[in-house]
C-alpha cells in the first residue's frame, strides 16, 4: 500500500486552475506595487522587478509543486489522500467510516471542469478530508463508489 505506483495523480487541468488563481492574486498584488513604484521618483524598477520575479516564480513553480504533491487512491474500499508540500500528510479513510460526502465546485473549478471531493468522518481529528483537483465526472463517480460501499455495508 506504500508503493507510490498505485497512487493516481490529479487532473492536469488543476495546474492551469492554480495558475489562474495565482495570476489573479498576482494582479491584485501588482496594484500596491505600482502605487509604490509611482511614489518613488524616477522609474527605477526597485519595487516592480522583485515583485514581478516573485509572481513569475509563483506562476511557474508553485502549481507544478502543488500538483505533484497531491495524489490519491481508492483501492480495497479505502480512500487514501496524500497532500502537502512542506508538511506531507498521508490520510487513509475506509469507506465504512465515511459519514457523508461533499462534491464542491468553486467558480474557477467550474470553469475548468474540476471539483473538490470532501469526505466527513466522526473522528474529532481529521473530521473531514478533502481532495481538490479532480475531474468533476471522476469526483461524482468516486462519490457514487463510496456511497454504494456504505449502502452495502449497512444493509
Amino acid at each position: 500500500m506504500d508503493a507510490a505506483d498505485d497512487l493516481i495523480p490529479l487532473d492536469p487541468a488543476y495546474k492551469s486552475m492554480l495558475r489562474l488563481q495565482l495570476a489573479i492574486t498576482g494582479l491584485v498584488l501588482l496594484v500596491p506595487t505600482t502605487i509604490a513604484e509611482i511614489a518613488i521618483p524616477g522609474w527605477t524598477g526597485a519595487v516592480w522587478i522583485p515583485a514581478l520575479l516573485v509572481i513569475a516564480y509563483a506562476l511557474i513553480r508553485v502549481p507544478l509543486r502543488r500538483y505533484h504533491a497531491s495524489s490519491y487512491s481508492l483501492v480495497e474500499e479505502r480512500l487514501r489522500v496524500v497532500r502537502g508540500i512542506f508538511f506531507r500528510a498521508d490520510t487513509v479513510v475506509p469507506f465504512g467510516r465515511v459519514q457523508h460526502i461533499d462534491v464542491g465546485q468553486g467558480p474557477l473549478e467550474r470553469a475548468f471542469g474540476l471539483a473538490t471531493l470532501t469526505v466527513h468522518t466522526a473522528g474529532t481529528h481529521n473530521a473531514s478530508v478533502s481532495l481538490p483537483g479532480l475531474r468533476h465526472a471522476d469526483a461524482i463517480a468516486m462519490r457514487e463508489d463510496i456511497r454504494a460501499a456504505i449502502r452495502r455495508d449497512t444493509r
Binding site: M1, D2, E76, E77, R78, F86, F87, R88, A89, D90, T91, V92, V93, P94, G96, R97, V98, Q99, T121, A122, G123, T124, H125, N126, A127, V129, I150, R151, D153, T154, R155
Partner: protein, 512 residues
Amino acid sequence: MNQTPDTIPRRTDPRTFAVRTVGLLSQLVLPLVVGGFALLDDGDFDDAIVYFLPFVLVAVGANILFAYLRWSRLTYTVSDADIRVESGVLSRAARSVPYERIQDVSLEQKVVPRLFGLVEVKFETGAGGGEDLKLAYLRENEGERLRELVRSRRGRIAVAASDTDTDEAENDVDARLLYAMSRKRVLTFGLFEFSLAVVAVVAGLAQQLEFLLPFEVWDWRAWRERLTGPGQWLAGLGFLAQIVGGVLAVASLLLVGVVTGVVRTVLREWGFRLERTDKGLRRRRGLLTRTDLVMPVHRVQALRIGTGIVRRLFGWHSLKLVSLASDSGSANHEAVPFAQMDEIAPVVAETGFELPGGTQEWSRAAPAYRIDGFLLGLAAMAALSIGLFVADRAAFAILPILLGGGWFGLHEYLRWRWDRYAIGPGQLYARHGWFAPSLTIASREKLQSVEIVRNPLARLRGYADVHFGLAGGRLRMRGVALDEARHIRDAVVDSMAQQDFSDIVDQQLPAA
C-alpha cells in the same frame, strides 16, 4: 417494555413555575438589598418606599406572568417515532428528535428543584454546541419514565433490526456496583485537588482588596505588630518574627487552596456510585446538585487513564471514557475520578477494553525525533544567548544556553523514556508525558481514519507522526520511525475495514 407512547401534548410539572419564581426572587433579592441601602442612606425611608414599592411589584409581577406564559406554552409530545417539544410565547418553535438519534437521557437535580422533587431531563443527541433538547422540570418519576421509554424504544429498534432477542429479560434493574467513593475517599481526593490557581487568585485579591483587610498582608512589619499582642516574645526576636510572619502568610494561602479543593470535590463527588446496569455504566454523584448519567458501554470509543504530579506517588489514578457524546462538552464522562489501579481494572474490563498486559511490547519514539527536539530548543536558547551577548549582557549570556539547554535535554530524555506506544491484537496504547503520565487505550476497530504527517525535518530524518481519527477525542503517536508508522497504519486500517461505522456506534442498523 410495555409502556405505550402517548400522543397527547403534555406540559411540564406546574411546580416548574414555583421553581422559576424562587429563582427569579433570589435574583431580585440582591438588587433590592442594594437599593434598600441606597434609600436608607437618604434618610426619609417612609416616603421613598411609597414610590419605590409599586415599581418593584410591577417588575416582579411582569416577570412572574411571563414565566407563567412560558410554562403554559411549552408542551412536549412523546410520539411513536420521536419526542417533540413546542415552545415560545410570541414566536413558536417546534423541535423533534427521533429516538434513533437520542444517545442517552440524563436527569439532573439542582438544589431548588430537588426540594420540590423535580428533575431536569436532558436528551443527549451528540449534537455539538449545547443544542440538546431539555425539559425543565418534570416530576422525578416522569423523568424516570421518559428515560425508560427512550431506552426501550431504542432497544426495540435494535432488536427488531438485528433479530436477536438479547435483552428481553434483562430489563429489570439488576445494577451491580463497580465503584463507589467513601466519605474518606472523597476527602482524600479533595486534598489532592489542591488548586494553585485559586491560591494565585486569592493572593492577587489580597493585594487588590487590601483596604478590606485590617492590615497589609505582604508587609512583614504589620505581621510582627499583630504578633506582638498574643506573643510578646516574638517581637523581641526581630528577624525571626519576620520569617514567622511570612510563613503564616504563605500557610494561610495554602490553607485556602486546600479548603477550596476539598469543598469543590465534596460538592461534586459526594456519594459517588458507578454501577453496571443493563444499558451501560450508571454514574451518580454530587452533594447539592445530584447528577445521574448512563454511559452506554458500546459507545465507548477509547479509555484514558490519567494521574497527577503528586497523586501519582500515592498510586491514585482516574479513568475517563472517550465516547461520541463527550463531544457535547457538558457530559464529562469521568467513570472513576480517583482510585488505585486495582479498583480501576474491573471497570476497564466492564467496558470491553483491556489494560495492557505484562507481555505487551512497547515502542518508543525514534531517538532522532527527540534529538531534533532537543537541538531545536537548544538553537532557540543559543539565539537568546547571542542576543544577550550583543546587547552587552555578556555576564548573563551563558545562562539561557546552559539552563535552557539542560532543561530541554532532560525533558526530551525523560519524554523518550516515558512516552511509549504499543499495538496489540485489538487495541492501541499510547502513553504520554513524564510529569503526570496518561495512558490512552483505543480499540483498533473503532477508529475513523489514520493519517501519517511529516514535516520537512521529519522527512529528512525518517520519522513521522501518526494521527488517528477518534470520535470524541484525539490520539496520536509522535516521532514514530517511518517504517513502523506505515506498519501501524496498515494494521489499523485493516482492522477498521472489518466493521462499518454503524456497527461500532450503535450495534444497531438504521432502517435504510
